[in-house]
Structures are given as structure tokens and as C-alpha cells.
Amino acid sequence: MRSRIPHILLLAVGVLLLTACYESSDVTRHEPGVYKGEADPLAKKLENDGELREQLNQRFDGQRDR
């Protein structure tokens, strides 16, 4: 009898340990094909900044034969 309690405890601890491996809330779920890196403010800027867009288009004139 004396030796059963520790066994149960060990089992319980073991289960807890194993569970911890699968249930950590820190891990991101992997969705293939979705960008995982840091955000790029330029992307947003290109989307919203009409002036930058116009500037780039104007700049493009330099590549014309003129």
C-alpha cells in the first residue's frame, strides 16, 4: 500500500507533463502559406499613401527615352 501512492503521483505528474507539451498557449498554430515574419510598414504605406504612389509614378518618367 505504501508504495502505490507515489506511483499514482508519478502517473499524475507524468500525465500533466505530457499534457503541457500539447497544450502550451505560447505556440502559434502553423497555417502553411501564411507569412510568419515581422510586419512591413511599407506595405501599408503603399496601400494608403496616394502621394507616395504619385511620386513613384512621376519618378518613373526618368526611365522614359525623353
Partner: protein
Amino acid sequence: MKLIRKQAQATSSSDAAKRGSAFDRRTFLKRSGLTASGAAVAGSIPLGMMRRRAHAQSDSAPAGGNVEVKRTVCSHCSVGCGAIAHVENGVWVQQEPDFDSPLNMGANCAKGAALRYHGLSDKRVRYPMKLVDGQWKRLSWEQAVEEIGDQFLNIREESGPDSVWWCGSSKANNEGSYLQRKFAAFWGTNNIDHQARICHSTTVAGVANTWGYGAMTNSYNDMHNCKAMLFIGSNAAEAHPVAMHHILRGKENGAKMIVVDPRLTRTAAHADQYMRLRPGSDVAFIWGLLWHIFENGWEDAEYISQRVYGLDKIREEVANWDPATCEEVTGVPEEEMRQAAQTLAENRPGTIVWCMGGTQHHIGNNNTRAYCVLQLALGNIGKSGGGANIFRGHDNVQGATDVGPNCQTLPGYYGLSDGAWKHWARVWDVDYDWLKARFDSEGEYDSGDGTLAHPMNIPGIPVSRWIDGILEDPESLSQRNNIRAVFFQGHAVNSQTRGPEMKKAIEKLDLVVISDPYPTHLAVMSERKNGVYLLPTSTQFEQIGSVTASNRSIQWREKVIDPMYESKPDAAILHLFARKFGFADEMFKHISVDDSGMPSPEDTLREINRGHWTIGYTGQSPERLKLHAENRHTFDTTTLVARGGPCDGETYGLPWPCWGTPEMKHPGTHVLYDNSKPVSEGGLTFRARFGTEHEGNNILAEGAYSKNSDIEDGYPEFSYGLLRRLGWHQELSADELATVAWVAGLREKPTGSASEQDVAEFRDLESDALDAVNWKTDLSGGIQRVAIAHECAPFGNAKARAIVWTFPDQVPLHREPLYTARYDLVSKYPTFEDRQSIWRVPTRYESVQNTDHSGEYPLVFTSGRLVEYEGGGEETRSIKWLAELQQDMFVEINPADANDRGIKDNQWVWLEGPEGGHIKIRAMITDRVGRGVVWTPYHFGGWYQGKDLIDRYPNGSEPYVRGEACNTATTYGYDPVTLMQETKSTLCQIKAA
């Protein structure tokens, strides 16, 4: 691998650190001065417009920021590409395209796009050094100037001023190169030259003797208007890449493009027709084309009768070049020749482009004149879309040729006659007799035709031959002694032939001085252990000045960064030595020198303006050039004419001739000899340079004249006498007449303004001295002004001459190269007889050609350029971004020739020339070259006959890429008119290493 930027005192900081903290676009614009026209405007105008608006402000320091925007001009070829430099805290942090430049519209080649590396280079000579027992020892500038100066003065004392040989540079700006020539004159020698000698000297001589000026007649931009383009000996895609922008636009506009070259070059890859020419057979090729043109009556008969003299003698020679004979000599089949001739005939105006493939031959002057004759026969000269578009090499080789160090002439092609010296003595405001006394006065020497002359009047020893000035027996030289010391300011000796003899010559010298940003091949190629000095010299990005592009447009170049390390600009170094030699006060009499010892570029240009009447370098004042730079976006990219704005109606860069004084506001001349325009708007006639008649024939123009001309026929060059005969002399102002009378020696130099009373005695004076003052010597510009007021060309109106009776071959003849693979042709087309003295040195022809080397050395050896490198390559091989792209010296060899020798691709081989020089290089097996012809680039150096000389460079200054100089294996051979070296057709043998 991060690149480290170097500042003047060798402190370093990373690029990113220099960029500072993050800044957004607006702060960036503010910092770079682009919003200087006002915040309210800047907020509402898109960048493109702001950019244009910002030009006017680009010179001024930006408010509140430390990023400066500088506008510079690429220093790697003659196209004249602009580039924008962003400089922060003295460091060149960013390079931007100069979209507004009408010459390049922002475009750059590999070299131009890598300009910023000039501001990063860690391979520079950092401080003055001398070689002591094989070790480089650091000196102060003071020590260096004292030591070198004392030795030069000593040599001068012992052996005369001609015993020091000076070399200037096509990479110096106009001001620097002009001072190089002036410096030599004040030292007392004509022994000064620069690399134009081995670049286009045969062009300058051949072309100037045909129609007046030895320069590109049209422009790169004008090639948009061509209907046909014939490239012979030009590989623009590698040598002038941005020119290809204009060329391909011309092609897209419908021009037919023909490329003639021994190699199927990258330029040929864009051609409509490619013809493979045997090296050295250019005259035969052109006469072969003309044979078809004359045969079919495709020549422009009216043009010829009005504007060309001597074509009948050409016809007689051309008759010898029937298709079979032509194919025998050139290797080009009849059908290809006929097709090309027809293309040129049916697509006019057409242009011809040639470069060193045409000029660097021992009959180079014959080649260039033959090209001219072809264009004259087709009536293509003096027309937009036509012309002889001679692409020059270095960024300022045109300018240095015009105003700079040449051994056969004073600045402005005035020559070396007493009259020329007196003209320059007047411009320099020095006493002619004092100047003459600076020269060797111990004797007179053979001037080349057996007559004796004063050393002041004998051309000096040219770049191609300085080694002979050292090696020849002094008895055979036309000067007192051998050359004992050399001073090189901006020249790569590995671009010259006969490497082993050069090595011997260098070892014989008392003293070698190298003033250059980099150590150069000269510093390492010999076994010298002592007596070599290195003077750190600034690049063009570290100084201000003007630079003349191939099309004669002059551009103002701003300083990007301060001189790096301890370097000084060319002009500042010359000033130091002028002071040491005791003639600084005379030499810089009208040129102010600032506290740093830098002679004012503006003052220097104004002095150039005051003296260069011959070629119209007189109207391009610093102020006008700066105005053009600021408003460069207002110029049309095809006509180069400004439309509106402060430069309205002027041509970009005021291409010379820009006649008269700056106040006269001549717009510059875009297309030379274009008589469809008035002279006041850039029109011209052919120059009356060769008298008015030849063998009883009139050689002035007949019935052809420039638009609105008051003289509707040919006329000689303008002089006071001609003005008097025309009754136009009364139109000279009192000031102008006073100056004319002074130049004539009839009165004192005018000081201040002259009144009508002051000159009354000259108004109706009939005097030979007064009459002889002409458009070239009149320092007032009055004669030019009056001529142009009547819409006449100051230099007269003559016919171009197809024959040059003052040259060895009146009619250009084909002559076999001295080392020829077709020895069977030598008896029919032999070279010249040996000459006792050309420009002070004996010059051999038939005694070299007498030996047949074609058995032992069966391969024709020719050389050329790679796009990544320039000239001798020391500078560009030290630019990491370029060096990475071409890491090995190589030889192009046809698969058949390689298989015959058991050579595999990329294998090391020995290439040996018939004079014994041999080089160890890699084989590149390619059909680009035909069978029997091999080709190497000529930009490599730092190796000698199999050995890397890395240990001889001052610590760490060896270029990233080193290799054999091809000219270690090249041979003897010089043009009899200009002493151009023969590099484009010699022989060699190749075997596996």
C-alpha cells in the same frame, strides 16, 4: 564584407551609421535640400516637379540638414554622363541618376553606376611616399616637393630642361590639363604629352587636315537622326555604353546599323549587318566601299563640286580596289561590300563612327582620312544625322586635346611657331623673351625634315615614345640629352606598347615621379629599388572644374567630396612645384590661389577663354557653364537646344566653337560645318585652313556658304586685312581696334577702355602688321564678332580636302602592318622608309617590316576594351563592384586555333609577341574572334611575364584585380604624322602554360 567609407583622414564609419537614424521621405527631402523652394509648395507638388524645381537650389547648402546634393560628371568615358551625389558629413552616401542631363538622361554603365566607390576607395595612395631600398617610406608634402624639386633642378642644370619628361592627363579637367601644358612651357620644354596621343591623335591630325577641326562633328544625341550608321573599329557597347542608348534609338527610328570589326562585338550583336575585317586593312575596306559607290554613281556630285577638293586623285586609287582585290586584303566578300555600300547610299544622311580600332595603326592617319573621304563622297558631313562621330575615350580627352598637354602644340592647336608662342605670351601676360630663355639654348636640333630649329619650336617627345627618349643613343635624338626623369600625372603606362623595353627604360632613369590617385603599374613594373615617388592626387570627384565631352559640350563639374587622405588636385600640385621652381608668380599671374593652395578653376577657365580663339573656347565662361548645369533639364535631348528658360536657344554645354567673347552669347555649335544654319546660330562652313589654292586650283568653296552669309561664295580666313578689303573694319569698336593694334605691335597694351581718339591713327592705316592680325590672334574677339555679324565663319569658307599634300601619303594608301600575318602582301603594300627623326626620335618602318615573323608568330594579335574597366585599369580594378565582374586577364581565341594548340577553355596559356614579350593569361575559347586572330583586353596590370607584383605595391594599395598587361607582348610601330602606336595589328603565338 561590409564596405567601409573612408574620410580624408582615414577615419571610417559604416554606411548605415552615416545614414543616421530613421527618416521618412519628407525629412529626407528636407535634408537633401529638395524642398528648398518652400514648404508650402513642397507640400502640394509631386516629387517629379519638385525635383525639377529644385535644380536652381542644388548648388546652395540645404537649410538645416547635412545631406548635400552635388551634381558631378562621370570620369570614365567621353559621353559626359551626369550623376547625382548625396553627401552627408563629407561622405558620399548615395548615388542617384541624373535624369535631367540631356546627354545621359540618368543612364549609367557599370562604371558610371559605381562612381560612389571613388569615395570609398581603400586602395588609394594615402600620403606622399618614396621608394628607399625597395621599401615605401612616408614623406610629408613639403619633403616630397623639396626632394623632387631639388633633383629636377639638378637635372635641369646638368642636362637641360628637356631631360625631364612630363605627362599630363585626359582625366584632368580642362583647368588642370591646361595648367599641365602651361607648366611645361614655363619649365622650358615641349616634352609634355598625354594619352590622347595613343587614343585619337591620328584622328585629330587626319580630320583637322581634311576639313578644319579634329573633333567629333556631331554628337551622340544627334544619332537619333541618322538613317545609316557605320561603325568601324568602335565597340560602343563596351567603350561608350550610354552612347548605345542614342544609337539604339536611332536604330529604332529606322537607321540601318553596320558594324565592321575583326570581332563580333557586343555592338555588332545589335547590327543589321556585320562584316569581319582583317585587322589593319581599313583603308582597303573603305576604298572597297567607295569602289561600289563610284561604280554605281552613288556619290553626291553637287556636294562634291561645291565643298570637296581633290576627290579625283582618290578615284584613281579607288580604281585599284576592285571587289576581288578588296576581298584579298580585307577578307570581306564582294556581296557584303556591295550591300553595305548600297545601304549607305540609300540611307542618307548616315554617320560613321570610329575609335581606336581605326586610329591605333602605323597608318592611322591614312585610316582616319579614308573614313572622312567616304563621308565626303556621300555628302554626309555638315548634316544632322550624318557626320563623323568620332567617339573619344577618357572623360576629358577632348578637352585635354583642345587646351591641354600636347607635345606638338600649345593650347588651342596654335602649334609651336614663334607666332604661337608670342600669342600665348600675350595671353599669359609674360615676356616672350623670358619664356624663350626658359628653354635649352645650347643648340638647335633636327626639326624632323633635316632643318635645324630652336627646341622651343620642335615638338617634344610624345607619350608613345618617351621610352625611346631614354633608351636611344643621345646622338640620334633631336635634343641635348636623354630623358633622365619622368613626372606622370594621371597616365597608365601599361596602355603603351613594348613593355619589356619600357621596363628597361624605367630602370635607367634617375627619377620617377607618379602623381596619381593610385600607385599605377609604373610604380611596380620595374626592378627599381630607389628613386620612385608617389604623390597622392585627387580624383575629379574631389575638385571643381569643367570637362569636355566627345561632342565638344563643356560641362561644369561640382566637387562631391574633399580630397581624400592627403591627396591634392593636379592644379594644386603643379602650383607647389611652380613655387619650388620659382615661376609660380609668373604662371599664376592672373589665376588666384586660395589658402589651401588650389588655383581657382574659374580664373583658369577665364584664361582659357581669353586665349583659345582658334577653336572657339572663348564663349564658355564659368558663369555660362554653371547656368547650363542648373538648367540642364531645359535642353532637348535630340537637338541639345534649350527650349525656354535662361539658356533659351543655346546648345547644351556650348559645344565649341562658341565664338567670340562670353558677352557675345554665341549658342555653341552642335553640328560642325552645317551650312544650313547661320553661323550666329551654330552654322558653319569648312575651314579655310590650307590656303586659297593648290597647284593652281581654287580650294575655297564654290557656291556653298552658310545661311544668311553676306559673302555668297568661298572666302579665306578672316584677318584685319580681309575686313579692310571688305570695308568691314570700321565696325570694330575702339576697344577692339586698340587690342588689334597692340597685337600687331603698333601700340602698347590697352589698359582700360580706349576712346575713338586713341585709335584714330589706326582707323585707316594700311599696315601689313595690322592686316596680319587675324581671328586667331585678336584677343579682343572683334574680328570674330564682325565676321559673324555678317554671318560669315571667322575661319573662312573652303572645300574639305580629300588629299593632304603635307602628309607622307597624299592619298591615303593601304600599307601592311609592320608585323603582318600576310607577309605575301608586303611587296605590294610595303610600309614607309625609316625616318631619321620624327619629333626628336628616330622612327623605323621598313627595317622592322623587312623580317617575316608570320611563321613563328602566326596569330594576328589585337586588343580592346571591357565595359567594366577604363584605360590602364588601375582605378577601375580598385573598385570592388567592378573588379568582381572581371577577375582574370584573358585572351579570346577561336576554337580552331585553340584545338590546333591543344588549349582548353579557361586554361592558362602563354602569349608571346615577336619582340619577345610574353604574358601568362587565361584562354577564352570563342567564335567572337575569327580564325587566326586573337584579342585581349588592355586594362590589366600588376603582373609582369608570369609574376604577380603584389609585393611591390605600397601596403594594401594593390588593386583588387591584377593581371598581365597585354602591352608587355605588343610591338614597335608608329604613325609617321602623330607617332600613334600600333596596338591593333601585331602578331603572337600562344601555347599552353
